[in-house]
């Protein structure tokens, strides 16, 4: 590299060479470009993952629906899931999934909101400092441990309370309650974030008008944070739907089948939470955990369930984000 005399004073004799013929900005930097490309690739991997998920679920599910034994209408409306007799009605699995999730939300929704209100409105700085990490620990416990907890602790309690004949060893209620505990930290921390984002001025105004602490929290702060809180519930619901190990351990191995809608809903038998039932995730784990041969009908059916599960959780997540951004109150 040739350095023109006179350019030296710019570098102050530091030994930095300067190419005066070309501007610095336009200089070629192979390493810089390489790093840029490499980092771009890293970012693109996530896109590839998504494409992979959608493609593999779509592809394998398509294989399933293309088979002549399978009719899409039966899949969407049937109440019997029994691969041995070629009956693929999704409702027993969906019913169990929804049952467990609803029980979970019935526990996590009020409790999570109350804890969030406590942490954001009532708790002292010190109490918050102790409680937050504990909730984080709760969130970090592996789900299989929660499954163990459901089976060995919650189920015996339920059986003691309601009678051994009423409550089966494997049941939806126990799994649902423990899923509620599992998603509790999600509900709490997201709701708390939403509550804390409400400006102090609103609280001060309420208190100034003579509102009690409870009235301030429930009538002013919670409504102001409602979009964030709803988003939290929906995210929690989506996690509950996708939760696997708890139901695999505690909810039972075998779909609770019915002949048709009238049998399922007559006497609300399909809704009994104390009987065993297999959820979508539970079924996938049980079947794929055994020795399954690829390209069998069983194997393909898992992907149909997987696709439905993916669409459900994706829908919930997108819905949650839409609510959070559309109905967000802006305080500037």
């Amino acid at each position: 590299m040739s350095v023109k005399p006179g350019a030296e004073f710019l570098t102050g004799g530091l030994g930095i060479e300067m190419d005066s013929r070309r501007g610095l900005g336009r200089r070629r930097r192979p390493f810089e470009q390489f790093m840029h490309g490499a980092l771009w690739l890293c970012g693109a991997i996530s896109i590839l993952t998504t494409i992979g998920i959608v493609y593999m679920l779509g592809q394998e599910a398509l294989l399933f629906f293309r088979r002549e034994e399978v009719r899409l209408l039966d899949f969407l409306t049937g109440w019997t899931w029994q691969p041995q007799t070629l009956q693929f009605g999704i409702w027993p699995l969906v019913n169990a999934t929804m049952g467990a999730s609803l029980i979970a939300m019935a526990l996590a929704l009020p409790l999570g909101l109350l804890i969030a209100i406590y942490l954001s409105e009532y708790a002292s700085f010190k109490a918050r400092r102790i409680l937050k990490p504990i909730l984080e620990v709760l969130a970090g416990i592996p789900t299989v441990v929660y499954g163990y907890f459901a089976l060995t602790f919650v189920t015996p309690i339920l059986r003691n309370m309601f009678g051994v004949e009423v409550v089966e060893i494997f049941n939806i209620a126990s799994a649902g309650l423990v899923i509620g505990v599992l998603v509790l930290p999600t509900v709490t921390s997201m709701s708390e974030d939403a509550l804390r984002a409400v400006p102090v001025a609103l609280r001060e105004a309420a208190v100034g008008l003579g509102a009690t602490k409870l009235e301030t929290s429930v009538r002013v702060v919670v409504p102001a944070a409602l979009s964030g809180i709803s988003a939290a519930f929906i995210v929690a619901m989506s996690r509950a739907v996708g939760e696997t190990m708890i139901v695999a351990v505690a909810a039972g191995a075998g779909p609770r089948n019915f002949a048709d809608w009238s049998e399922a809903l007559g006497g609300l038998r399909a809704l009994n939470p104390f009987q065993s039932a297999e959820t979508m995730t539970g079924h996938i784990v049980r079947i794929s955990g055994g020795d399954i041969s690829y390209d069998s009908l069983d194997y393909d059916s898992l992907f149909a369930i997987g696709l439905l599960l993916f669409l459900m959780t994706l829908g919930l997540n997108i819905f949650s984000r839409a609510i959070a951004s559309r109905f967000r109150e802006r305080y500037d």
Binding site: G43, T50, I117, L138, G140, Y148, G242, V285, L316
Partner: protein, 538 residues
């Protein structure tokens, strides 16, 4: 804000006055207090759940176990003293010694309702007890007229020839034989004979015991693992304990029951002819033993090693990728459509259930890339038996699973670096990469690492995706390379929890404790790292 203006329009006369106001205020205060109590109670519930969960695990990890041995230690020693080597259990012993004037057979009187022809019966011990022992001496035997319990004990202890006991007796070797009964008559008698402990037997005696009681096939298998003659005494003792004594768990009790209902447990054990012992299911041996079909002998060695292997792959795969993506998104990507698409996409990926990742791993890593993930491409296995259900597939699957989490955490850490730093770097003429490498990254690294560690700890506890891609249900060989079959700690817990036998619940609890301690250790590292970074920045 319309609500508030409306309220302001309400006239003063609409508000309650006087006594009504006081009572209303009181009611509002009470309501406030009641709800405050309720809110506190709900918060305590969170704490309660965590405590209960831990209590439940600890409760099952320690406690009484009622164990009955197939053969008591004394009986093993007694049988070892039998001078007929093949003293099989419940064999027609009389036939074996018929016509041998130098033999004596001892068994429960229940087994011989009447003294058979050609034998003389000598009661041993308490003659009035319903269950007693009887010694049968062949009629041809002329010298053993005065056989009684004392002489029998002497036979047990001394000599191998009759002449060793009395000079006028024949020089033939003693054939003393015991027949084991199910009622435990012989074992109770043996317990009173103050025989040496099992630990005091010599190597040869132990070999003899093993040869007597183990089937030929099993002996051959053990011999293949390590020749019997070369085994240490401790090893042989362990084998005797395991295979001959063969303790069988009748019932297990929780820690709480063990403390509260000790008397009942002891009574139960006695009624079953078994012993109750306090056992810790979590022992050093539990950590280093491989999996076994018997809960008491099972350990988590294979699962623990599997977890470490899989996590190593996950870290190598996902941490650099995740950090790279986070840097790209924060520092390089212009906020154009591509950046936004990736951004939304990552957020959606983070919400995909883990089991879906398992299915992705099954299709891509296990099936489509079998050649790579099974190692057949590198010649470690032949193409016919190539199976993609390996450590490599598992690690990559978990890597994909935690990638979005690492990216999101990384982005947050990078975003926390003040812009003034970047501006200063650009001001002195650094390029983008130089700015990132020398200014942004050093400041963001603690935050990035904390996020990455938390993500990895999530991968360590993940079960469902690995079940889907096909973890092995039973392996007892250590994983030695990337292409080995695998099992991991959470899967081991899942499998043990799913077993109906109570003792598997106990070892599941012990394994859970190990997993929780491991996670606690990792998370504590993350928290320490975060605190140190924060204190340095101050």
């Amino acid at each position: 804000m319309g609500v508030f203006t409306e309220k302001a329009a309400v006239g003063a006369g609409d508000w309650p006055q006087g006594a009504e106001e006081t009572s209303q205020t009181r009611r509002r205060r009470v309501r406030g207090r009641v709800w405050r109590g309720l809110i506190r109670v709900s918060t305590v519930f969170g704490l309660l759940v965590l405590t209960t969960l831990l209590y439940n695990v600890v409760n099952s990890t320690w406690g009484y176990v009622v164990v009955r041995d197939q053969l008591s230690e004394q009986l093993i020693v007694l049988l070892e003293r039998s001078h007929i080597t093949h003293a099989e259990r419940r064999v027609d012993a009389l036939k074996m010694v018929d016509g041998n004037p130098h033999a004596v057979v001892v068994m429960s009187s229940q087994l011989v309702p009447a003294v058979p022809d050609g034998f003389r019966g000598v009661p041993i011990g308490d003659q009035h007890a319903a269950l007693a022992l009887i010694a049968l001496v062949p009629e041809e035997n002329r010298f053993l007229l005065g056989l009684d319990e004392t002489l029998l004990r002497q036979l047990l202890r001394e000599g191998s020839r009759w002449s060793d006991l009395a000079p006028n007796w024949p020089t033939e070797s003693i054939s003393l034989m015991f027949v084991v009964d199910e009622d435990g008559v012989l074992s109770r008698w043996a317990a009173r004979q103050d025989l040496p402990n099992l630990d005091n037997l010599g190597t040869n005696a132990m070999l003899a015991v093993l040869e007597t009681h183990l089937s030929a096939g099993l002996l051959r298998r053990y011999d293949r693992e390590e020749p019997m003659a070369d085994r240490s005494r401790a090893n042989l003792l362990a084998l005797v304990q395991e295979r001959v004594k063969e303790p069988e768990v009748l019932a297990t009790f929780t820690l709480r029951d063990s403390l509260v209902r000790q008397g009942e447990i002891q009574a139960f054990a006695e009624s079953e002819g078994a012993i109750a012992e306090f056992r810790s299911w979590l022992t050093p041996g539990f950590l280093v033993r491989p999996q076994s079909a018997n809960a008491a002998r099972s350990g988590i060695r294979t699962a623990l090693l599997g977890s470490l292997w899989v996590i190593a792959i996950t870290i190598i795969f996902s941490v650099p990728l995740g950090i790279g993506a986070a840097i790209y998104l924060e520092e390089f990507s212009s906020r154009n459509w591509f950046g936004r698409v990736i951004e939304t996409n990552i957020n959606n990926l983070a919400g995909v259930p883990s089991i879906i990742y398992g299915m992705l791993g099954l299709v891509i890593f296990v099936r489509a890339l079998t050649q790579i993930t099974s190692g057949s491409l590198f010649g470690t296995v032949s193409a016919d038996e190539a199976s993609g259900r390996t450590i490599l597939s598992a690690g990559l699957t978990l890597g994909l699973l935690i990638l979005p989490v690492i990216i999101i955490n990384g982005q947050e850490a990078i975003r926390a670096v003040p812009d003034s730093l970047r501006e200063a770097a650009y001001g002195v003429g650094s390029t983008r990469w130089q700015c990132v490498r020398w200014h942004v990254l050093p400041m963001a690294v603690p935050g990035i690492l904390t996020g990455a560690i938390l993500a990895v700890s999530r991968a360590l506890g993940e079960t469902a995706p690995l079940v889907v891609i096909g973890a092995a249900t039973f392996i007892s060989v250590d994983p030695t390379n990337l292409f080995a079959k695998f099992t991991v700690l959470p899967i081991q817990i899942y499998q043990w929890t799913s077993r109906p036998q109570a003792e598997f619940r106990n070892i599941a609890a012990a394994a859970i404790l190990v997993l929780l301690v491991l996670l606690l250790f990792i998370n504590a590292t993350a928290v320490l790292l975060r605190n140190r970074a924060e204190s340095q920045r101050m």
